[in-house]
């Protein structure tokens, strides 16, 4: 495969690429949005009970182990979900459980006890402590979890092409079937560039978001 194969493929298929990218991003955005809405509150709740935290984290860990193709395949056999977006979304949300809950839990738990005591001594309520102390101070760890979730979701979403999602993974799927190397490589490169790009951008944001006193050298 030469560079001209690659560029001619890009030129000829720009419309399809746009369509697939749009689908890809919609799925990722939906999945990450739903995951944040569910798992961040769950993570915060779990900081109240160590017993439940251990149980839920063990469950999340177990789910996280399941190979992504297996997860999609299992969900497809459940009549309520079947082929398509519902299964894809559910799988992605289940995968996000581990990094999000874990990071929220760790982030909040890592906050210095003395700081919380001091806040309580200043007369802050539980709610204000949560919003003004725990979340901002736990932010570096929470954001790292968010970053992992986004990058991972982008990658796994591509596999959802096998259960009927028309997204960037489809280039790889069809390229493999038709032994169309330019198609396959283009698909793989686009996804890789997006994943690496997101990882880098979120990494930069991560550095910005950390309160000055907390910056850790990497």
């Amino acid at each position: 495969m030469t560079l001209s194969d690659f560029t001619s493929f890009l030129m000829k298929n720009s419309k399809t690429i746009m369509e697939y990218s749009e689908n890809h991003f919609t799925l990722v955005l939906l999945a990450v949005g739903i995951s944040l809405a569910i798992w961040v509150p769950v993570g915060l709740l779990l900081t109240k009970s160590d017993k439940w935290a251990a149980r839920v984290l063990a469950l999340a860990n177990t789910i996280f182990c399941i190979p992504s193709l297996s997860m999609f395949a299992i969900l497809v056999t459940i009549p309520m979900f079947g082929l398509g977006r519902k299964s894809a979304l559910l799988a992605l949300v289940l995968y996000a459980m581990m990094p999000l809950i874990r990071s929220v839990y760790d982030g909040v738990k890592n906050v210095d006890r003395n700081v919380i005591e001091a806040a309580r001594g200043m007369g802050m309520g539980t709610r204000r402590i949560l919003i003004e102390i725990l979340v901002p101070l736990g932010m570096p760890i929470i954001f790292a979890g968010f970053r992992i979730t986004v990058v991972m979701t982008t990658g796994i979403a591509a596999i959802a092409t096998y259960i009927g999602e028309r997204n960037l993974g489809r280039f790889i799927q069809e390229g493999l079937i038709r032994s169309n190397t330019p198609m396959m490589v283009t698909g793989a490169l686009i996804i890789s560039v997006i994943a690496i790009g997101l990882d880098t951008i979120l990494g930069l944001v991560e550095k910005r978001i950390v309160p000055k006193g907390l910056r850790i050298s990497r």
Binding site: M71, A188, I191, I196
Partner: protein, 214 residues
């Protein structure tokens, strides 16, 4: 769902697929450990710290590449079959082990190292008898991450002809046979969970007394 199909998938198809899958995982992880642990030890020595940062950044980038893309890129470069799949998987299983080896070795408290050198131990003996044993739980945790990852992406390796449980799943999706899907996917999930638990257990067993789990 037909029992006949289920039986066929489980007893006729699954043993071979499971064997191929285990082979992929065992070979990849063995090679990954053989490469990453020495690399991690090398990079954690103070002399090579700068080099270590660069290597870690490159491995980090590689890690961000989605598994399915790695498999797709491996095909035109390396060809079809089990060997290319193993090479592709190897690339991505290095990072967790290298990172945890470095983290584990750097995490050994300098007091302990000083005490060891005060007792007259050579650098080499300190590494082998003090630093490595103390870092083993963290290294194992990296190996666990890599193993689960390889089992997972291993299912995609069937796309480039490596066989394994992915064959059953892909066949099931193509023919829409839920029995094949359940057997292939179920075994894949069980394998990943089993290996995760097993290495996790090892991690706890091997942690030197006195270090305690955090």
């Amino acid at each position: 769902m037909k029992w006949e199909n289920f039986r066929f998938a489980l007893f006729e198809k699954a043993p071979e697929a499971l064997w191929e899958h285990s082979l992929i995982v065992v070979i990849t992880i063995t090679l990954a450990i053989l490469i990453s642990v020495p690399l991690g030890i090398f990079l954690s020595r103070p002399k090579f710290k700068k080099f270590g940062l660069v290597t870690l950044n490159i491995l980090n980038l590689l890690q961000a590449v989605p598994g399915i893309a790695v498999i797709a890129l491996a095909l035109p470069i390396l060809g079809l079959g089990m060997k290319p799949a193993i090479v592709a998987l190897l690339f991505q299983s290095l990072l967790p082990i290298v990172r945890n080896t470095i983290a584990g070795l750097l995490g050994v408290s300098s007091d302990v190292k000083e005490a060891a050198s005060g007792m007259g131990m050579s650098q080499r003996r300190i590494l082998l008898e003090v630093e490595l044993p103390l870092a083993v739980p963290i290294i194992l945790s990296g190996i666990r991450t890599a193993t689960v990852y390889v089992v997972s992406i291993g299912t995609l390796a069937s796309l480039i002809g490596a066989g394994g449980l992915g064959n059953l799943i892909m066949g099931g999706l193509a023919l829409f046979r839920p029995e094949y899907l359940l057997v292939g996917a179920g075994l894949g999930a069980l394998m990943a969970i089993f290996l995760d638990r097993m290495i996790n257990y090892l991690e706890h067993r091997i942690t030197p007394p006195g270090m305690g789990a955090e």
